[in-house]
């Protein structure tokens, strides 16, 4: 049988990194093929080359045995290659059907198209209402829109880039059912992920990448997790060591009954939020992004301030009226999701970016910068946190996302904060780096720091947290002790069901119809 898609010796070089180095692979019709690798292994670049967004420096692509010459996304569509991107490109203010029509281009019949959307979504178990406005949709629903858009084109190859990173566990299993059905109909699926257990569950074959090279082509169901991890990371996978933490009675952060209205038309507002974090404790906020996570982060970091000073307290001092700088003076540190542009100035060098928040460590004297101190600090962070960079003078935008994240994590932690707020601590990090960051957070907590983690990755929260709360539509659930609740229970709350029962005992749960 001719492979549906075949790559031969694909190479791509970026200024500071060889993203792909002689990659070859074959995908048969109806095969679910995983591209597995850590962040920075070259997965996304490879997919962009296949889809035609990025041109390879060397190598050839064959579709059904025919070489593809000059590659473009429009050509991909003609050949039946469709891609569901990691970050969706949908227009918020128009309907699902209109969004799909826009992406197809040309003339369209909106009534007929809506009908097709309904048909496809029914057939593949992807409930989507073509007449819904996109800004009303959850992230999971938006992803379904993207998938339905691809399916309407009768794809021969479907590429999914980290599709589960924003989904609840229930939504993940539903997605897998859809993908299996598609594969059974003969569609080839390229599934990009760094999550081993998903790949083991779903995929027939996996091509493992490390540092832009293929380190193995395996059958994931028959290969052990340790073996696959070895191929991905190059070494054995570290496990997070969590000692029984010594939680003190001292409250680090207390939020009392805060309600805000969103400035952003499509943002969420927070509704009667109360929360406390004690020293030596890691508290997790689970939930799918867009449910008030961004607003809660800004509220705690001080990027948003409130008039009622007492409503947020840091070590018993009222801080709700203080800006981010003054809160940092009191021992707060914050690792945001957006590294470039928020956590770091893209055009500034790494040592200059150290000054951004760490200037409190004697980097400023009489209003003048002491760059030699910033340099020493930067060198320490680069070394200790394994940041791959072209020296301390490389500009932030030249680092890969994962490396910049490591740098920002290091910069914030090396300031020895008394309270640390972290949003998606390992988002986009490779397995090894993620394990390192998680261990660092646990160690920090053991040394007496209070840590609040806002994350979509439930496994991660269960691994490091003492307590968990769920943020859904601007409301916080009751708090659960991690060892007294389950992945399923929290997953259902993330999807919008309400927990019944007010005590901190095990709760019975109504599943939502979603």
């Amino acid at each position: 049988m001719t492979p549906r898609l075949e790559l031969q010796n694909i190479s791509k070089r970026y200024p500071s990194v060889q993203a792909n180095d002689g990659i070859s692979l074959q995908v048969m019709p109806g095969e679910v093929h995983a591209i597995l690798g850590e962040n920075g292994a070259g997965k996304s670049t490879l997919m962009k080359i296949i889809y035609g967004i990025v041109r390879a420096d060397e190598g050839e692509i064959f579709c059904n045995g025919q070489p593809i010459g000059v590659h473009k996304p429009t050509l991909s569509r003609k050949l039946g290659i469709e891609m569901v991107h990691q970050h969706f490109a949908l227009f918020e203010s128009v309907t699902v059907a209109e969004n799909i029509a826009i992406s197809f281009g040309g003339k369209y019949d909106i009534v007929k198209l809506s009908q097709q959307v309904s048909e496809v979504s029914e057939r593949y178990g992807l409930p989507v209402n073509p007449r819904s406005l996109v800004h009303h949709l959850s992230v999971g629903e938006r992803q379904r829109v993207e998938i339905v858009r691809c399916l309407l084109q009768n794809p021969k190859v479907l590429i999914l880039d980290e599709p589960t990173s924003v989904l609840t566990p229930q939504a993940v299993s539903r997605l897998f059912e859809t993908l299996r059905l598609l594969a059974a109909e003969g569609c080839s699926i390229l599934y990009i992920s760094h999550k081993l257990y998903e790949v083991k569950e779903l995929c027939d074959t996996a091509t493992v990448l490390r540092d832009g090279r293929v380190t193995g082509t395996i059958s994931p169901k028959k290969t052990s997790t340790a073996e696959i991890a070895q191929l991905m990371v190059g070494t054995d996978l570290p496990q997070t060591v969590k000692k029984a933490s010594k939680i003190s009675d001292e409250h680090a952060l207390v939020i009392r009954n805060v309600t805000t209205s969103s400035e952003d038309q499509f943002g969420a507002s927070l509704n009667d939020i109360s929360l406390s974090v004690r020293r030596g404790e890691i508290v997790g906020i689970a939930g799918v992004s867009g449910n008030g996570q961004a607003e809660l982060e800004r509220l705690i970091s001080g990027e948003t301030t409130l008039n009622d000073a007492e409503s947020i307290q840091l070590f018993e001092q009222p801080i709700a009226h203080l800006d981010a700088g003054k809160r940092r003076d009191l021992g707060l540190a914050f690792i945001p999701v957006e590294r470039l542009g928020r956590g770091a100035v893209p055009s500034h060098r790494l040592n200059e970016n150290a000054v951004l928040t760490a200037y409190r460590l004697n980097m400023v004297e009489n209003g003048l910068l002491k760059m030699n101190r910033a340099n020493r600090f930067t060198e320490k962070v680069i070394k200790k946190f394994g940041v791959k960079a072209n020296g301390l003078e490389s500009v932030a935008s030249s680092l890969s996302g994962g490396n910049l994240q490591k740098y920002i994590v290091g910069r914030e932690i090396e300031q020895n904060p008394k309270f640390l707020l972290v949003a998606q601590p390992t988002w986009g990090l490779d397995v090894g780096a993620a394990a390192f960051v998680r261990q660092t957070l646990v160690n920090l907590c053991n040394s007496g720091t209070a840590v609040l983690v806002i994350s979509e990755e439930l496994d991660e929260l269960f691994e490091i947290c003492d307590r968990l709360l769920v943020l859904y539509q601007g409301r916080l659930s009751q708090s659960f002790q991690c060892n007294e609740t389950s992945l399923e229970e929290i997953g259902i709350l993330m999807a919008g069901a309400t927990a019944v029962g007010s005590d901190n005992t095990r709760t019975s749960v109504h599943a939502s119809s979603d």
Partner: protein, 353 residues
């Protein structure tokens, strides 16, 4: 082999130095073709453009006289531009500086006081700052666009100046010309030397170059506002106030432009008239960018642009070249210079296929 354009991970220092040289070579090549096609001898034209103006002491005096305000204003504007504060109304701030300084020079009771000149410098600075405070206040309180407000205030300033010299401040012994009386000698800068027009105000510019260089390189304040300019979200994340950027950015430009205006009336002009500046406030924007918003770069950029203008005037007179031809040449030179800058941040690599 096909060329690929790539962003450099770190800006190349070698190219930073080589870019102006490359631009010069391209300009020379261009001018040979251009002047030759128009029937002028390229060598003698370039000589008349760039060498002749500087081959006499008077020429050098005129060169520095024009460069000084350009550099001074550009230094102030660059501080704002680094913070993404787009003050393009330096011309108006210059006029207000000149007006404020003249009010001291004309109406201060003791016409021979040694304090007259320092007071005028102070007044010029405050006049420019006051004019720049309007857009700063409006942006801070009402989030108005400073590009529009500063530009429109320039027209207001021009009309205000026109009103003063046509009306209340008109010299009663000036044969009805729209101009004020001449400033007393104590209100004027002394010439730098001999009979030439360039005066002691160039020391203010030299001093400002040093201060600005130190401020942008070493001060935490400058660091904070440059973060606000390069990444506003990062500034908010770190807790730097936007209002600091707005006020400092506009005040720096206003103060320097005001002093430049003062130095014009207390130097070559000696009085106010409806047209006191040949567009220094606007040209300084180009100077700031040619100098890459860096103090030393602005010093060189100001000297360069000044020479370009003086040379343009010179060839119009000596070779009878039309002003459009000199402007095309000036435009081409600026184009090559800014295009060469591209290579500082990007490089071209050849790959197979």
């Amino acid at each position: 082999m096909r060329p690929l354009i790539e962003r450099r991970t770190t800006p190349s220092i070698a190219i930073t130095v080589a870019a102006p040289a490359a631009a010069t070579v391209l300009t020379v090549v261009f001018s040979f073709l251009f002047f030759d096609a128009l029937g002028h001898n390229p060598v003698s034209t370039l000589h008349a453009f760039f060498v002749m103006p500087l081959s006499s002491l008077n020429g050098i005096s005129e060169w520095l006289l024009k460069a000084s305000p350009l550099i001074l204003i550009a230094l102030g504007l660059a501080i704002g531009f680094r913070a993404n504060i787009w003050n393009i109304g330096a011309e108006g701030q210059l006029i207000l500086g000149a007006v404020a300084a003249t009010s001291i020079g004309l109406f201060y009771p003791d016409k021979e006081s040694v304090f007259l000149l320092p007071l005028m410098i102070l007044a010029g600075m405050l006049g420019g700052m006051a004019w720049a405070a309007i857009p700063a206040f409006l942006k801070h309180k009402c989030n108005t666009n400073e590009i529009l407000v500063t530009l429109m205030l320039t027209y207001v300033a021009t009309l205000l100046l026109s009103y003063l010299v046509h009306g209340p401040w008109r010299d009663p012994f000036g044969f009805n010309y729209p101009q004020t009386a001449l400033l007393p000698p104590a209100a004027m800068f002394d010439p730098l030397s001999g009979p030439y027009r360039v005066n002691n105000s160039v020391y203010i510019t030299i001093f400002a170059v040093g201060v600005t260089w130190f401020f942008t390189k070493y001060s935490f304040l400058s660091y904070r506002i440059s973060v606000g300019g390069a990444a506003p979200t990062a500034a908010r994340y770190a807790g730097y106030r936007e209002s600091t950027s707005i006020w400092l950015g506009l005040m720096a430009g206003g103060a320097m432009a005001g002093i430049a205006g003062m130095a014009e009336v207390a130097g070559p002009l000696g009085q106010l008239s409806p047209h006191i500046s040949p567009g220094y406030g606007f040209t300084a924007i180009i100077v700031a960018f040619i100098g890459r918003l860096h103090a030393v770069g602005i010093l060189l950029g100001g000297l360069f642009i000044s020479l370009l203008y003086i040379g343009g005037d010179a060839v119009q007179i000596s070779l009878g070249m039309s002003s459009s031809v000199t402007r095309i040449f000036q435009g081409a030179l600026l184009f090559f210079l800014l295009a060469a800058d591209f290579l500082i941040f990007y490089r071209i690599r050849f790959v197979k296929g």
